[in-house]
């Protein structure tokens, strides 16, 4: 498999911010192309097949949510939303529609770069992840074949639910998973919005893997949105 040059599509109508994002990307020697409207974005996604999309939700012609929906109908490319909409409900809606990450304005270049690194790693990792049965992040490993968890080589005892939760996070490492998506994954659709069970399960899991559950190093909480397994 040859490592090809990744193209990043920057969808942003504000010239200043588009400039800043593009500058930050070129600083990291990344190739990019830009779109100023939702229709342009959809068009370029089709014709140029970019590898990652950075998407502003407040576009002049189409709502960013609609762009996510249409892109997801035909492509699984990572979408990083950058938006001035800071309500948690907006983030959850974008993530549940299929966005991979969400940054609230104002954000720093380093935050954006961190998110792009996660997206890039996913692009390159995905085929490998399917083959390997051992997933590892900073000393925490998940053996998907034996359904075992190790911390610095030592086996941890997990309940089946805890294992399932950790496994779901591992398979989406670096990405925010919304509370609703996790509940659906673990308990099935139609379980409702009972977040209390998930909070309790998460507390138990953290007490096993984190040195201090109040300063989690592995699973961080995106308050009001969901959880993310940090990969760096």
């Amino acid at each position: 498999m040859t490592q090809r040059v990744e193209k990043i599509l920057v969808v942003e109508d504000d010239e200043q911010i588009r400039g800043f994002i593009c500058y930050a990307l070129s600083n990291e020697q990344l190739t990019y192309l830009t779109a100023e409207t939702g229709h342009q974005a959809l068009e370029k996604q089709r014709t140029e097949s970019p590898d990652i999309m950075i998407l502003d939700l407040g576009l002049p012609d189409l709502d960013g949510m609609e762009v996510i929906r249409q892109v997801r109908e035909r492509s699984q490319l990572p979408i990083i939303v950058v938006s001035a909409r800071d309500r948690e409900a907006d983030k959850v809606a974008a993530l549940d529609l299929g966005a991979d990450d969400y940054l609230t304005k104002p954000f720093s270049a380093s935050e954006l770069m961190a998110r792009i690194r996660v997206a890039r790693r996913h692009l390159n990792l995905q085929p490998a992840a399917e083959e390997s049965s051992l997933l590892t992040v900073r000393g925490l490993s998940l053996d998907t074949a034996k359904r075992l968890v190790y911390l610095n080589g030592e086996e941890l005892h997990m309940t089946p639910m805890e294992y399932q939760l950790l496994s779901y996070l591992f398979h989406n490492i670096g990405k925010v998973l919304t509370t609703g998506a996790i509940i659906e994954e673990l308990w099935g659709a139609g379980y409702g919005r009972d977040t209390q069970a998930l909070r309790a399960l998460m507390a138990g899991l953290r007490r096993k893997i984190e040195k201090n559950p109040g300063k989690p190093e592995y699973i961080v909480t995106e308050i009001g949105v969901g959880y993310r397994l940090k990969d760096e």
Binding site: Q16, P106, A109, P213, I223
Partner: protein, 504 residues
């Protein structure tokens, strides 16, 4: 007048009976037929007068007239044939009975007619009330109907939306031609007191009798009628008045309910407008800030670390970040203090909130040491997670800013052993808070004069918003100096039960 008319009618009837009886006698009809004629006369007299007294009077008079003119010996009250006594007695009893029945039937017919009229006028009133578009219309219709029905002046005093009597009331004076006037009401407290302490269905005042109008949620107003008119009302009239009052109260109540619906609809749209305004302000400020923060950050990355320009670019970035947090705090405070925004509470694990806040603060102060102490058990409480995270962030930032670099800051969580509350404590090891600042520390933009101006520039709003958020959650917050060494601590509590059981 009435009595003279009744006597005249009776005499006329008896005269007519005598005249026809004379003809009967000539024609050779028996005496009993003539007695029947008199019976008929009594019946008519009773019917026309609708009075039992007249009936009895006519019965006795008829017997005497019959005796005088038709029983032998004629033109005397003497009687030859003792059989006539039987006729007289029968005539008296029969005519009294007949007149009793007649007057009763007549009275009932009259009563029924009156009731029908009353029903009709109440119906008309109800109809006109339901056509009334405003409260003033309702009052005008009501007063006109009362004046027409009772032939007296009347007034209507309304209570406002808060249940307080209004300063003036509408009065419709007696007499067809006069139109309504506004009069000054008495002391509202006295009026309310009288309404609340009624022993009958109305209150008897010096000048007026007042009948309260009750709606579904308490009194809506008063109907007042001048004392002399009100005290002179008969049973019939006061019943009619009560029916009218019921209809008026119903109409006013319906109007009040409609008004409340409109009001709450207006509130919703006002609320939506304000939320949109706040959102677009915050959007319009965030967008340029993104450019400033991002560009200065990149600029800084391209400059030689430690150089003068690198310092300047860093200051642009810090100032822009500070401006951002100030704007967010102002917007947050406006939203919460106006009471316009409802908290979106859900059961949250406080350790996650603390962890999130600590993570956020560490991003901005990567070198700051922050200790987190959690209990072994999971502590959950209903809250708006984002807002409580903001409280912890603000408290941590406040602690970091007011202690020197390298001074550790800690945050701990505990369950209140006495009550059912969660307790979060943020503690620093700095110089502590001066005693004179302690009472004011949660006031917006409070600045302690002994601090340097740069140092305290964000002193004010951060803590003020903490207090607002915690109070909105039904919790408490306090600041004090540590007793076991130097430093200050901020402690806030959150109730671990929902105030209103809405979720389950």
């Amino acid at each position: 007048m009435e009595r003279a008319r009744n006597i005249l009618v009776t005499l006329l009837m008896l005269g007519a009976a005598s005249a026809v009886g004379y003809l009967f006698e000539i024609a050779g009809f028996p005496d009993t037929s003539i007695a029947f004629l008199f019976l008929l006369a009594v019946l008519f007299a009773a019917w026309l007068s609708s009075s039992l007294g007249v009936g009895v009077f006519a019965s006795i008079a008829a017997t005497f007239v019959f005796n005088y003119f038709f029983a032998a010996p004629r033109f005397t009250f003497a009687v030859n044939d003792p059989n006539y006594y039987v006729t007289f007695v029968a005539l008296i009893i029969t005519s009294i009975l007949v007149s009793t029945l007649t007057t009763r039937a007549r009275k009932e017919a009259q009563l029924a007619q009156e009731r029908e009229e009353e029903t009709k006028s109440i119906y008309m009133l109800t109809n006109r009330l339901s056509d009334a578009g405003t409260r003033d219309d309702i009052v005008a219709v009501a007063l006109a109907a009362i004046r027409e029905g009772l032939q007296c002046g009347c007034g209507c005093l309304c209570l406002d939306g808060d249940g307080q009597p209004e300063a003036t009331y509408v009065y419709l004076p007696e007499g067809e031609g006069s139109s309504q006037v506004r009069r000054e009401a008495e002391d509202p407290k006295a009026i309310l007191y009288r309404i609340e302490h009624l022993s009958e269905d109305h209150d008897e005042g010096e000048e007026f009798f007042d009948w309260p109008l009750y709606g579904g949620e308490g009194p809506l107003g008063l109907i007042r009628i001048p004392r002399e008119a009100a005290s002179g009302m008969d049973e019939e009239q006061s019943r009619m008045l009560r029916s009218m009052i019921d209809s008026i109260a119903l109409a006013l109540d319906r109007f009040r309910a409609a008004e409340q619906r409109i009001q709450s609809r207006e509130e919703v749209s006002r609320e939506r407008y304000r939320a949109n305004l706040l959102r677009s302000i915050s959007h319009d400020i965030r967008t340029p800030l993104t450019g400033i923060i991002g560009t200065s950050e990149i600029l800084r990355g391209r400059l030689e670390t430690g150089g003068e320009e690198w310092e300047l670019a860093g200051r642009i970035q810090t100032d822009a970040e500070w401006l951002h947090s100030l704007v967010e705090n102002i917007l947050g405070l406006t939203r919460l203090q106006d009471g316009g925004v409802k908290l979106k509470k859900e059961w949250e694990a406080l350790e996650e909130i603390i962890g999130g806040a600590v993570g956020h603060v560490e991003q901005h102060w990567p070198d700051q040491e922050i200790d987190v102490n959690l209990p072994e058990e999971l502590v959950m409480a209903p809250m708006d997670a984002k807002l409580i995270e903001q409280v912890v962030i603000n408290l941590l930032e406040n602690a970091i800013k007011h202690t020197g670099p390298g001074t550790p800051v800690s945050v701990s969580l505990a369950e209140d052993p006495a009550g059912r509350g969660a307790v979060v404590t943020v503690r620093d090891r700095g110089q502590g808070i001066r005693a004179q600042d302690l009472p004011h520390i949660f006031q917006p933009f409070y600045t302690s004069d002994h601090r340097a101006s740069m140092e305290n520039r964000s002193f004010g709003l951060g803590l003020a918003i903490c207090e607002t958020i915690v109070t909105a959650h039904g919790g408490t917050i306090l600041a004090r100096n540590c007793t076991d060494g130097p430093g200050a601590e901020f402690v806030f509590t959150l109730p671990m039960e929902e105030e209103h059981d809405t979720e389950s």
